[in-house]
């Protein structure tokens, strides 16, 4: 019986991996069917947020700690990489590694006091720490304070992660990022840590009585999640070419990082990608359509979409697919 359940689990995990490979291949071929720099740019952003939100999902979804301060790790990654590139001439590939390391470390340090808090106290504490960082960043002259950092063009090369003409290389950069994040989540789902974290999320007391050490589990989830978010921040800086405290540390960014996972399906493999595929285009297109002519409508569309999705699909967009899968299972006896 146990053996059969184990085999079923294994084959399910193998199926997920196969599905992942198919989706990856489709997304890799996507630029063939999409022309126009604008649409391609939209897809690049959606892929970036799919990755960022999956990084958030490690802590927020699998471990159940709703962080509303992930912009902090994004900002640290973005600034570290941008500073190393502009001031020391180091390749962003080194920069994103350094940035990821620093943001993972910060997430660990933030976790030390914050994981003593529960529920809403934790969420509020992450907001406050994030806003504190934003405030400090806009007053710190070494990193250009509120002015931000413009990343100069050092020549089209993979080494510089800069491309003058096409969005295409960034499509693959962000795709690799999103795919790696997906893979990390997949590995976590099958690992001992993944089981620990889900146990922590579902029932802290029961998890503790089964011998899961709660606090180190959460710290590990935070460090991985923070580091992964920092790498996304470094990629963003290189893609956009400009960062400032408002674009890299703001609370609205923290919300935007969490939203795709929440809307798509929190604590699931496919939620962040699905959520980003819906949210990011709607948000960007409404800015493009209404932004200049009638400022405000873009925010109204975005806000209304969040409300409608959250209320109508509390389990996330993935539940559309689960419903069908369950139905199929019933049909097949």
């Amino acid at each position: 019986m146990v053996e059969r359940a184990g085999r079923a689990l294994l084959s399910r995990r193998r199926r997920e991996l196969l599905l992942g490979a198919v989706v990856l291949a489709l997304l890799a071929a996507l630029p063939l069917g999409v022309s126009g720099a604008y649409l391609r740019g939209l897809i690049v952003l959606a892929l970036l947020y799919a990755g960022l939100s999956q990084a958030w999902n490690i802590l927020g979804g699998y471990c159940g700690q709703i962080s509303l301060g992930h912009a902090l790790y994004f900002g640290i990654g973005a600034y570290t990489s941008a500073l190393l590139f502009t001031r020391a001439g180091l390749s962003p590939f080194i920069g994103m590694f350094a940035g990821g390391l620093l943001s993972g470390l910060s997430a660990f340090l933030v976790g030390i006091p914050c994981f003593r808090l529960s529920g809403h106290y934790y969420a509020i504490a992450t907001i406050v720490i994030g806003m504190m960082a934003a405030l400090l960043a806009s007053n710190w002259d070494f990193i250009n304070a509120a002015q931000g950092i413009t990343i100069p063009f050092h020549g089209e090369a993979w080494r510089n992660l800069q491309f003058r003409t096409a969005v295409l290389p960034f499509h693959y950069v962000m795709l690799v990022y999103a795919a790696l994040m997906w893979l990390i989540a997949w590995v976590i789902e099958g690992s001992r840590w993944g089981f620990y974290w889900r146990a922590v999320k579902d029932d802290v007391t029961a998890a503790r009585s089964l011998g899961v050490s709660i606090y180190p589990s959460k710290l590990a989830a935070a460090a991985i999640s923070g580091a992964a978010t920092g790498i996304g921040g470094a990629l963003y800086a290189q893609y956009v070419g400009f960062i400032d405290p408002e674009s890299a540390f703001d609370l609205s960014l923290s919300v935007l990082i969490a939203l795709p996972a929440v809307v798509g399906g929190i604590g699931t493999l496919w939620g962040p990608l699905l959520g980003a595929a819906v949210l990011i285009p709607v948000q960007q297109l409404s800015v493009a359509w209404f932004g200049s002519a009638a400022g405000g409508i873009d925010l109204m569309v975005y806000g209304a979409l969040i409300m409608v999705l959250a209320l109508s699909r509390p389990e996330g967009l993935v539940s559309f697919f689960h419903g069908r899968a369950r139905q199929e299972a019933v049909d097949h006896g």
Binding site: A123, N139, P314
Partner: protein, 291 residues
């Protein structure tokens, strides 16, 4: 730095703290009742400020005289938000807390967008009010009258909130919070009580908005900062505690004013955040938190 200056800054900070406390009281009341954090709280403050500005511009009615009117408007808004959105989130069995957080976040973004659409992004202010520009002097200590009035009204709001808890309705609130299934058995309508709770919470923010509109600029995202301070105040005072909100508001107002004076005005919030973090180290549920 003269002692008079320090005293003046400290009193100003305390008066501002009373206003923060009223915003926080609305938040903590709703939380205490049903365990929901309203992330649209700042947007409600903004809405109240625009309402005051609009009424003042179109009828000339002084902000102070608008207090009952705007409070009633916001009460209605609060009840409507409960009926349309929050009541639905309470039905949800999976991810309920998450849905509440992001539904109210979505509402906040929606309202800020609406304000941008209707009023534009420019800063507005009420210039010709009864209190505007006047000061009150005690020797060398000079205080702006709108701030003093806002402190006095804020204290009255707290008196009313403390009295409320001793009325029949206050007991119904308390009972609903303790066990809403049991109160349903004795004929208390949960939705009615929760709706009124949201109404009172929003009305408190409405009053704060009117007071603030007297001396503060108005813009679509003016609420963000005040809401942030309110979240800190509620976490510092303890979720659900009105007294906690009052004390925390005062601590925050004073800290902010003194940090601005001693360190740097642009870093005034750092002082608040540090105190908040320090308190949470020792009391993870805030000063008066029960939950």
């Amino acid at each position: 730095m003269s002692p008079a200056l320090i005293l003046q800054v400290a009193i100003g900070g305390i008066l501002m703290g009373l206003l923060y406390a009223v915003v926080a009281a609305g938040l903590t009341l709703i939380f205490g009742l049903m365990n929901v954090v309203n992330f649209a709280h700042g947007a409600l403050l903004m809405a109240a400020m625009y309402a005051t500005w609009l009424i003042h511009r179109s009828t000339g009615l002084d902000p102070l005289l608008q207090l009952p009117l705007v409070a009633a408007l916001l009460f209605g808004t609060g009840v409507a938000i409960y009926r349309v959105l929050i009541a639905r989130t309470l039905q949800i069995r999976v991810n309920g807390a998450m849905v509440q957080i992001f539904t109210t976040f979505g509402l906040s973004i929606f309202l800020v967008g609406l304000a941008q659409l209707v009023f534009g992004s420019d800063f507005q202010s009420i210039n010709a009010s009864f209190l505007g520009g006047r000061t009150l002097a005690f020797g060398a200590v000079v205080l702006p009258l709108p701030l003093v009035a806002s402190g006095v009204v804020s204290l009255l709001v707290f008196l009313a909130l403390f009295r409320l808890s001793r009325t029949e309705f206050g007991r119904a609130l308390e009972a609903t919070r303790e066990d809403f299934e049991a109160v349903a058995l004795i004929g208390v309508d949960r939705d009615r009580i929760f709706g009124i709770g949201w109404g009172i919470g929003a009305a408190a923010v409405g009053i704060a908005g009117v007071l603030l509109a007297n001396f503060y600029y108005i813009s679509p995202d003016v609420g963000t900062n005040f809401a942030l301070i309110a979240y800190v105040a509620v976490a510092l005072g303890g979720f659900g505690s009105i007294l906690g909100a009052l004390i925390a508001g005062l601590v925050i107002g004073l800290t902010e004013a003194l940090t601005a004076l001693v360190v740097d005005p642009s870093l005034k919030q750092i002082g608040i955040f540090l105190i908040y973090l320090a308190v949470l180290m020792f009391r993870p549920r805030g000063l008066f938190g029960k939950l």
